[in-house]
Amino acid sequence: MRLMPKRVKFRKSQRQKIKGNATRCNTVAFGDFGLQSLEPGWITAQQLEAGRVSASQCLPREGKLTIRVFPHKSVSSKPIETRMGKGKGEPEFWVAVVKPGTVMYEISGVGEDVAKHTFNRIAHKMPVKVRFVQRRKTI
C-alpha cells in the first residue's frame, strides 16, 4: 500500500503547531472498537503500515481493520554534514497529523478480547499514547 498522496499542491510543507483536541474523526464510526490517540503527534507512513501489518498477523479472517488517518504532510530534512542555508531540504517521509482524541484505527467483526489484543500490538508501534475505545451505543 502506498501511504502518500497521489497529487499535492506543494511538495514541501511548513511544520505547523498541533493545537487543541480533535473535533472531527473523534468517534468510532466504521467499526465496533477503536484506537484513540491521547497526545498530539505525527504518525509516519511507516508507523501506520507497521501497525497494519502487526494487526493483520493477529486478526482472524473475519476481522476488518480500518485506518482513519492518512499521511498528507511531507517532512523534509537536509542531508548530514551539509552547511546551513541553500534552501529547504528534500521531502524525506510523510506523516499523518493527529490531535488528542483522533481515532486512528478501527476494527469490526471480532469480539472485544481479540480487538484489545490487536490494538495492544498496534499501540506498541505508535509514537503517541493511545487508548482502547468502543462504539458508543445509540441512546
Binding site: M1, R2, M4, P5, K6, R7, V8, K9, F10, R11, N21, A22, N26, T27, Q36, L38, R61, E62, K64, P91, P100, G101, S108, G109, R135, R136, K137, T138, I139
Partner: protein, 214 residues
C-alpha cells in the same frame, strides 16, 4: 410500560463558563424544547442521569418546578476524550403522538456465507423509526443466519413490529456478506514515485497547459 422519573432543576446561567462550573459541581446542563413552547434550561445530577441511561429507557417524566412533563431523551453529547456527558437534549412529547427516533440494529446468528468463506459487513448500525412512545423498542434484533455469500439484508427485510415504521429507504443495506478481496501490493516503482505537484510551473522548453485568456 413503566415510565421513570428524572429530577431536574431550572438554571438561569448559560454559556460555556457557567456550563463548565456546573459540570465541575457534578451536574449536567440540559435543555427541554418542543411543542412550540419556550425552551427550558435545566441542570441534572450526573449520577441520577447515568443511572437512568443504564436502564436504556428513552421516555421519561421530567420533574422540575413542582410539575412533571413527559419527555424523550433526544441527544446526549459526550466529551470524546474523557467520556463524560457534556449536555443532554430533551424533547417534549405527548404520549399519544408518534415520535421519530434512532434505535440500534443488532444482528445475531452466523451467516451461511461466512461459513462458505465470506465476511460479514454490518453497515447500518442504527435505524430511524416512527412509533408511539409506549412501544419504543430498546433495539431491533435481526437473525442473519440465512444470509448467503454475496447477499445483503435490506431495511425492508427487518422484522415488522406492530406500531413501528422504518423511515429509511427500504432498499438501504443493513448487512451484507461478501468475498474477501486481497490487498494488492504496490509495485516498487509505485512506492518510490513522488506525488504529482499540481501547481508546478512547466520548465522552459517543456509543454505546459495552455494559459487561459481572460
Amino acid at each position: 410500560m413503566e415510565i421513570l422519573e428524572l429530577k431536574a432543576e431550572k438554571r438561569t446561567t448559560k454559556g460555556s463558563k457557567a456550563a463548565r462550573k456546573l459540570r465541575d459541581s457534578g451536574q449536567i446542563p440540559a435543555i427541554l424544547y418542543g411543542h412550540k413552547e419556550d425552551n427550558v434550561m435545566l441542570s441534572l445530577k450526573d449520577t441520577d442521569f447515568m443511572r437512568l441511561l443504564q436502564t436504556r429507557t428513552r421516555l421519561i417524566w421530567l420533574a422540575f418546578d413542582n410539575k412533571k412533563e413527559s419527555a424523550l431523551i433526544k441527544d446526549v453529547q459526550h466529551d470524546n476524550l474523557s467520556d463524560k456527558i457534556d449536555h443532554v437534549d430533551f424533547s417534549r412529547i405527548d404520549l399519544d403522538e408518534k415520535v421519530h427516533l434512532r434505535v440500534s440494529v443488532e444482528v445475531y446468528g452466523e451467516p451461511v456465507g461466512v461459513k462458505d468463506g465470506g465476511i460479514l459487513t454490518h453497515t447500518l448500525k442504527s435505524v430511524e423509526i416512527e412509533c408511539l412512545p409506549a412501544v419504543i423498542p430498546e433495539k431491533i434484533k435481526v437473525n442473519i443466519s440465512s444470509l448467503g455469500l454475496g447477499k445483503s439484508l435490506h431495511v425492508r427485510e427487518l422484522p415488522q413490529v406492530e406500531g413501528i415504521r422504518y423511515l429509511p429507504d427500504p432498499e438501504t443495506v443493513v448487512a451484507s456478506v461478501h468475498q474477501i478481496s486481497d490487498v494488492i501490493a504496490a509495485s516498487e516503482e509505485e512506492l518510490l514515485a513522488e506525488p504529482e505537484v499540481i501547481t508546478k510551473k512547466p520548465k522552459e522548453g517543456e509543454e505546459g497547459e495552455p494559459e487561459k485568456k481572460a
